[in-house]
């Protein structure tokens, strides 16, 4: 078989197309930039914010897989993030597991809990599922208010009710203790998670999910075990979000319950919608909206309430007009703009007498 045939065969087997090659180049370039140059270019304030933005990109990714790929709306991912933070902090304080192992274990434990949160998906769907997950998130939030987040204390909850002095920090990897170094570390971890999700989407689970989203009876008739695949989606989303939670703990040094209000689950959903739940780029846009926009507002002296207003309006706009979100719409708009400009250019300087 000629080389071209073999390469395209490999590409077909991996489920990659020509546009993916372009995406791949952009991603690799972006990651190299983010790891090598970004931390030194940003001020300390922005280094921290960028780290948190990347972390929330993982949360948005999980939400996107559930909503965009399988059609399961979960408004409880904010609580899963909090759970991930709790488990991560507990492990990092109580054990001396190497950091990567610790966050993976945190992710796995959160995965189990998150799958339980997803169980209602087997019984209800659509609106009711969204409401159930929101309510579960609210309930979990109340429990966390009571238990607090681990701060190196004793007992199962690992919480010391000390009101004076600085609480101990949730540890970071030894090779990435400083903020800029931790940003680099976070980018790598986020990249690994994205690849994990991509492999799922391009593989057997992704096809099964697409079938379930289109029509559950047809998926069943095709032999897809809908129950298993729905739970798998929740498991994947929760694992990724759990890892994000663990990273968030290290990033913020200490975790408090007020960092995870129930309203955040709603805002996460709104920005995920705005960014676009059908593509992985959408998760990146969503994270940017969620973290960077409010931070910009703070720097510019604009009240955070305007961000809330923006997200409300954005959600309304997306739901009414552009259901695929900004990440989907933007390239199309750019392409349209490109064609328009090209058309104008040809009209201004006609080539060889060809009509535009």
């Amino acid at each position: 078989m000629p080389v071209g045939g073999r390469v395209s065969g490999l590409r077909a087997r991996l489920g990659l197309g020509r546009r993916d090659a372009l995406d791949g180049v952009v991603i690799v370039a972006g990651v190299i930039f983010a790891v090598a140059a970004l931390p030194s270019l940003l001020s300390p304030y922005w280094v921290v914010n960028a780290t948190i933005a990347f972390i929330y990109a993982l949360v948005a990714l999980g939400l996107g897989v559930l909503a965009g790929r399988v059609g399961l709306i979960s408004l409880g991912q904010g609580a899963v993030l909090a759970l991930g933070g709790w488990v991560g902090a507990r492990l990092l304080f109580a054990t001396s597991l190497p950091y990567p192992i610790a966050i993976i274990v945190a992710g796995l434990i959160t995965m189990v809990m998150g799958t339980l949160i997803g169980l209602p998906a087997l019984r209800v769907s659509g609106l009711y599922l969204a409401l159930v997950t929101l309510m579960l998130a609210g309930a979990i939030n109340v429990v966390l208010t009571d238990t607090n987040f681990p701060n190196g204390g004793k007992g199962f909850l690992g919480y010391n009710d000390i009101s004076t002095g600085t609480p101990p920090s949730i540890r970071r990897p030894s090779i990435a203790a400083s903020d800029p170094a931790f940003l680099r570390y976070t980018v790598i971890v986020v990249l690994v998670m994205f690849v994990l999700v991509l492999l799922h989407i391009r593989g057997k689970p992704g096809r099964a999910w697409a079938a379930i989203r289109q029509s559950e009876p047809a998926a069943l008739a095709a032999g897809v075990n809908v129950t298993v695949y729905k739970m798998w989606a929740f498991a994947l989303a929760s694992f990724v979000t759990g890892v994000a939670g663990a990273l968030l703990g290290s990033s913020s040094h200490v975790l408090y319950n007020y960092q995870f209000p129930t309203s955040q689950s709603i805002i996460l959903f709104a920005v995920a919608l705005m960014g676009g739940i059908y593509t992985m780029w959408g998760a990146v846009v969503a994270a940017f909206l969620f973290q960077i926009v409010p931070s910009l507002f703070t720097v510019w002296g604009i009240s955070n309430d305007w961000a809330t207003i923006l997200f409300g309006v954005g959600a309304l706009q997306v739901l009414t007009t552009a259901p695929a979100g900004i990440a989907h719409q933007f390239p199309r708009d750019m392409a349209k703009l490109g064609r328009l400009l090209f058309g104008l250019a040809r009209r201004v300087a006609p080539a060889g007498g060809r009509a535009p």
Binding site: G138, I267, A270, T308, I309, L310
Partner: protein
């Protein structure tokens, strides 16, 4: 386990809260049946109306009565405007999208409220009916609580009667049953929907006013009280007004009667969520593959 006398004071509080939830719940159910929209922004709408009333009384020194009417009217008008714009645009989409849109509205209103009425200031709304009341056993009942329950009963019965007896009400029931057929029967669908939006908005405004007095006038808290209303509506399977009322009363009672029980009082905030989860998983209907109209979708 606390004694009966320690529970007593919380009974009228629970009943009154339940009455207010029922008001909002009736509106929510009627609106859902007529338009397919589960309006999760009703809490925010009521909250904003209450805050406007507060400003009218405290900043512009408008007489109380005018302010209260304004609050209720605001609820109706804002809901109607939303319905005429977004309700219409999203009319053909499924209930999830319609409800998600109301979440967007809720976020928007939350932001606006926190801008216009900064949260650092504590505000209270005191209805004149707060003064005066009577005692029943260990419990003190004030007139606002009586109004809340009474209004809840009146609106439930009145709305049920309205739907059954009047032309507009019958049209709403027809709409709830089958929108397309109703339109072909010559019923002015748009006008009937507008009436449903406006009416349910009025009820949300009234509920907001009562809850602002009974509970708190904080935008965040009031907005999220809608969860109680949603629970009651879901227990009624978004169908029966009477069940909505009963469920709302029960929810209000359960939520408040937990307060004196020390072992679980820390988890009192969980009540609305737990009740909603129970409602959703056990009451909200079974899943079915629908095979209507040839084909599977």
């Amino acid at each position: 386990m606390p004694s009966w006398s320690s529970f007593q004071p919380f009974i009228p509080i629970g009943l009154a809260a339940g009455g207010a939830y029922a008001l909002s719940g009736v509106g929510m159910v009627v609106l859902y049946r007529a338009t397919g929209v589960l309006n999760l922004a009703f809490g925010a709408i009521g909250a904003m109306g209450a805050l406007i009333a507060w400003s009218m009384i405290n900043t512009w020194h408008v007489p109380g009565g005018v302010a209260y009417v304004a609050c209720i009217l605001f609820g109706g008008v804002l809901t109607l405007v939303y319905g005429m714009i977004f309700g219409r645009v999203l009319a053909a989409r499924d209930p999830l999208v319609k409800a998600a849109a109301t979440l967007g509205l809720a976020l928007l209103l939350l932001g606006v409220m926190n801008r216009l009425w900064p949260a650092q200031v504590t505000r209270t709304l005191t209805l004149p009916s707060d003064n005066g009341g009577f005692a029943v056993g260990q419990a003190n009942v004030d007139w606002t609580q009586v109004i809340a329950v009474g209004f809840g009963i009146a609106m439930t019965a009145g709305t049920a009667l309205f739907l059954r007896v009047t032309k507009l009400g019958t049209a709403m029931r027809a709409l709830a049953d089958d929108r397309e057929i109703t339109a072909t029967l010559g019923v002015p669908v748009r006008r009937v929907e507008a009436a449903a939006w406006f009416g349910s908005g009025l009820l949300a405004g009234a509920a907001g006013l009562l809850l602002a007095d009974l509970d708190t006038l904080a935008s965040d808290a009031l907005t999220f009280l809608v969860i109680f209303t949603v629970s009651a509506a879901l227990i009624a399977r978004l169908r029966s007004l009477v069940v909505t009322f009963i469920a709302a009363i029960v929810i209000g009672l359960v939520d408040n009667l937990i307060t004196p029980i020390n072992s679980i009082t820390n988890f009192r905030d969980m009540t609305p969520f737990v009740l909603a989860i129970v409602a959703l998983l056990f009451f909200a209907g079974r899943r079915q593959y629908s095979f209507a109209r040839g084909g599977i979708r």
